[in-house]
């Protein structure tokens, strides 16, 4: 018997807002949330000095003790999870049937760096006893799992910038296979520090448009020069449909399916042909049992890199054929920046809200549309989506050659 998966709760904290409502409103308004990072001690050679910092700092929301014991990536995951769990009506259920799958691309690097600073200043005996649980990549999943009392399993798939999307696919599989009835899932990232920023900049992956932060992330623009680092988290409550209906839960949309492939091409560069990405998209649509024509909206990975945006665009055409001409494509990283392991989750929520509200969010910052990109992009503002049963495709790709595509459908 098929166990269908529905979305019954959403939560997020992003550079656009501290919750779903404020983030979605700012996304629909096409207003980016990128700024110069206010550090007094920038090294003069630091190439990229801009980022999408969370609009509401977690330290303003959480208790002092929570802040002390959790890495920033855990803090924002917990904030988003609390919003999502409350949004789903805080289901009362057997905890053995409740899971948590929350990913981070990088883990608690900020805490690792501060622990090293502590050693240099005060010696090894002053390193926090909470440091290990603050840096471990499964920390955010564990903190969220503890918050809701999940006992069906707590998991953390790691695939760099595809991690958040992979987590959602894993969570859905837990429900489909019968391991759980409800899973709290998503992704988080908070690794804005001089080390990470220097590393990504060394790969020439970051935009260096430091003087004009809000136009720095410009997917599909001819002059795009890299992505903008961002922090935050997105969490969804996935639930088995009959279980959700029995408790009268509000249903945002359906999880359709997932496609997960690998490029086998290069550790960091996308396959220029986009074949692995295209296979992931086709598999996600097949997994959802849909025709290619059902996909009316795409939330693209589109990070604002020269190679990546183009490779994804040809992969989309390879996967959907002529149907891509009927799909409205949004690249919301133009506004949020790139939340790395949080991106796939935040953009899944955007996809679900787009289906619910029948509107594809805008893609600002396209001043000169790259003629090589043959997609219907929301360059001039939000675009209405059709009535009836519709579906959205959400792409996420990660360093390492990870390709994850998710499909959501309307209710």
């Amino acid at each position: 018997m098929t166990r269908n998966v529905v979305v019954t709760g959403i939560g997020m904290t992003t550079p656009l807002g501290g919750d779903v409502a404020s983030t979605w409103a700012q996304a629909l308004a096409g207003q980016p949330g990128i700024s110069q990072i206010p550090w007094p001690d920038w090294h003069p050679d630091q190439p990229a000095k801009i980022a999408g910092l969370m609009k509401v700092d977690p330290e303003e929301i959480l208790t002092r003790v929570e802040v002390r014991r959790m890495d920033r990536s855990e803090q924002c995951a917990l904030i988003a999870a609390r919003e999502a769990w409350a949004d789903a009506g805080s289901p009362e259920m057997d905890p053995v049937r409740l899971g948590a799958v929350v990913a981070s691309g990088i883990g608690g690097v900020n805490s690792l760096i501060s622990a090293y600073e502590t050693i240099k200043e005060k010696g090894p005996l002053r390193v926090s006893p909470h440091m290990v649980t603050m840096i471990m990549p499964n920390g955010p999943a564990a903190m969220v799992g503890l918050e809701v009392g999940a006992r069906a399993g707590v998991h953390t798939p790691v695939s760099a910038c595809a991690s958040g999307a992979e987590a959602i696919s894993y969570a859905a599989r837990m429900i489909q296979s019968g391991r759980a009835d409800v899973v709290v899932t998503g992704g988080t990232e908070a690794c804005i520090n001089s080390v990470t920023m220097a590393g990504f900049a060394a790969m020439r992956a970051l935009s260096t448009r430091n003087e004009d932060p809000n136009t720095a992330s410009r997917p599909y623009d001819l002059d795009r020069d890299g992505f903008v680092m961002a922090e935050g988290a997105g969490i969804l409550i996935l639930e088995e449909e009959e279980f959700a209906r029995a408790r009268g839960a509000r249903i945002y949309g359906r999880y359709g399916g997932a496609g997960l492939t690998s490029d086998g091409h290069h550790i960091a560069q996308p396959d220029p042909e986009g074949t692995g990405a295209a296979r992931a998209m086709r598999e996600a649509i097949e997994d959802a049992g849909l025709d290619l024509s059902s996909i009316v909206h795409v939330n693209a990975h589109a990070t604002s890199t020269a190679l990546g945006d183009y490779a994804e665009s040809i992969a989309l055409r390879a996967a959907l054929g002529s149907h891509i001409d009927q799909a409205i494509v949004s690249a919301t990283k133009a506004m949020t920046g790139h939340l790395l392991g949080g991106a796939g989750a935040v953009e899944s929520i955007f996809s679900i809200l787009a289906l619910r509200d029948r509107i594809a969010p805008p893609t600002p910052n396209i001043f000169n549309f790259d003629p090589a990109i043959q997609l219907n992009v929301t360059a001039n503002g939000p675009v209405a989506l059709p009535a009836g049963d519709i579906a959205a495709l959400n792409n996420s790709f990660g360093f390492g050659g990870h390709d994850v595509a998710l499909v959501f459908t309307s209710v």
């Binding site: 208790t63 002092r64 003790v65 002390r68 005996l125 002053r126 926090s128 006893p129 909470h130």
Partner: protein
């Protein structure tokens, strides 16, 4: 003297574990009454060492069951 140490310790336990200052009384057990787990106890010890310049070795920490035990140890070794 020991009142000052009790007050200082209460502030530390509040900072580290979020326990209200007024709950940190001599007869209270760190684990059973104040919910200070072993990791937080490490933080309490670090902060006490820094505040009063005492050394509290791990072999002693296990004997510090109550707030009063800690106050007595710190008073005797400060």
């Amino acid at each position: 003297m020991s009142e000052d140490i009790l007050a200082g310790l209460a502030a530390i336990v509040n900072e580290v574990a979020g326990v209200p200052v007024e709950d940190v009384q001599s007869d209270k057990s760190f684990v059973d009454d104040l919910d200070v787990d072993s990791l937080s106890m490490v933080e309490v010890v670090m902060a006490c060492e820094d505040k009063w310049g005492v050394k509290i070795p791990d072999s002693e920490v296990k004997n510090l069951k109550t707030v009063g035990d800690a106050v007595t140890y710190i008073s005797a070794n400060v």
